[in-house]
Symmetry: C2
């Protein structure tokens, strides 16, 4: 089944306690798309500037990612984000943000993208997500990500968007913020009243959980020591999860649980390198090897 991702594309400058990298490929769309591409074809929508290297388009093509939805703005510059991670590799501070072409992003879906059956709206202005949904015809499953910023400054649009999506993916702190609840489970359940039929709560190094009216599924995170750069981990998780769901074409309990696990495992590879570096070294077989190991660690 076709999986469509709409999200940001960025050139990141990242400093960790170990190393610093400048202008490396980042943004929710590349992380999501690459993570999802291990499970099937992906259509990517985003916006970049004239500084977009042709080699990235080619890299995506070879990976089964159709980036013809990537608008290249003549004379424009790609979105840039710069951040620094603290010693614990969890906390980070943003050093600089240059929205550039992302500031005026109005996604225009190519004709061939409008019948995508699986749609993921990565973290972005809820109004952008709504405009994408207006261009989509009869998707089987629409899932959105969101973050504290939109909860704070675009709550009305977010409420409208929540009524039009099947699922919402967000961090535990964001779930609590969105619902004014202090317990993660209670918060997730309360989000179901806002529209989504299911909620996936990302807990970083503590794993993730899926909650719908009648179902609760839990997955711990893969125990990773070698965290090189956590940027994009949440988008990679969502990409692995949605990629697997799209590959199965259903949302039964086994699919959901395996999707949570694949999301976790793909993200666990991603954080072992900067940008998409680690993804270029692995394939589906490598992910399945880690899955076998993970099953040994968790089955009872």
């Amino acid at each position: 089944m076709t999986l469509l991702i709409v999200g940001s594309v960025a050139f990141d400058t990242i400093e960790t306690p170990i190393a610093k990298r400048e202008n490396i490929l980042g943004g929710s769309a590349p992380f999501f798309a690459y993570a999802a591409s291990f499970f099937g074809p992906v259509q990517m929508v985003g916006v970049v500037g004239e500084d977009w290297p042709e080699e990235y388009t080619e890299m995506f093509r070879q990976q089964g990612i159709d980036s013809s939805g990537l608008e290249i703005v003549p004379g424009g510059k790609t979105f840039r984000w710069s951040g620094k991670y603290h010693e614990n590799m969890n906390d980070r501070e943003t050093l600089d943000t240059q929205l550039n072409v992302l500031g005026h992003f109005q996604p225009k879906l190519p004709e061939s993208f409008r019948r995508a059956q699986y749609v993921f709206l990565a973290n972005g202005a809820p109004s952008t997500g709504l405009s994408v949904l207006d261009q989509i015809q009869g998707a089987d499953l629409v899932v959105a990500d969101t973050m504290d910023l939109w909860i704070n400054i675009a709550r009305d649009d977010l409420n409208t968007l929540l009524k039009r999506v099947d699922g919402l993916v967000l961090n535990d702190s964001e779930a609590k913020m969105l619902t004014h609840e202090l317990n993660t489970i209670t918060a997730a359940k309360k989000i179901l009243n806002l529209g989504p039929k299911f909620v996936v709560v990302k807990k970083g190094e503590h794993g993730a959980l899926f909650i719908s009216e009648y179902e609760t599924y839990l997955v711990p995170a893969f125990p990773t020591e070698n965290v090189v750069d956590p940027t994009g981990a949440g988008d990679s998780f969502a990409g692995g999860m949605m990629g697997y769901i799209a590959s199965q074409g259903n949302l039964n309990s086994e699919t959901i649980k395996n999707a949570l696990v694949y999301g976790t495992l793909v993200a666990s590879f991603g954080v072992e390198g900067f940008s998409l570096d680690r993804y270029k070294e692995i394939d589906r077989a490598g992910i399945d090897q880690r899955l076998a190991l993970f099953r040994k660690m968790t089955s009872f």
Copy 2:
């Protein structure tokens, strides 16, 4: 197999955002012993004052807990702890501590306790744990708990104790403190160099993990919304875990993983009430029912 617990016995006064209870039974030994008793007989060692109600001894007896190792100090008062939980039910502050008879606790094991095969040294002065080990003959498995206080004020004794135990149970923040590491997995592995053959890291609402030289096992926490009082959750977890291990009489991978799960599940009942209240309403069948539910939530 016989399981011996040495720990504190307390009368707790606890305030949560919902309710307040005064002088209710608490302490590591009662929580651990009751949690373990769902899986087999338990021998309990501790100290209390003359204010110890005979009905508690009878309650333990009926539950298969031999409390003949509970020293009743004539003229003494039982240890008292008073604490207040914040809105999120995770953070708490200690309002008052009266060590009373616990301040001079020198465990003397009854003759019939000295051949216990499974021994758990609950959080307490490492010197107390060492004195217990001097009285034990040929235990199959000795596991200790510890906490930040002893890491800070009794590091030499703790180091000696760590060389004499098979396993260590502690919180993730304590694992990091003990090893000066920021990654939980790295910290746990480093503790193996200090003596224990395995480490169990408790992560509260995020579950637990087991690490030995060749094994890593993970379990998420049971998704609990109805947290009435988290006091004793860590001791209950350890009690369920050790109780199950003692009931199996081995430490193979299936036993360890089931033990982590049982620890998690028993603790998930415990926090649904004050003191041992919820435990009095459940039995092994009730725990196994929750286990079936938990398996549905986590298996893939």
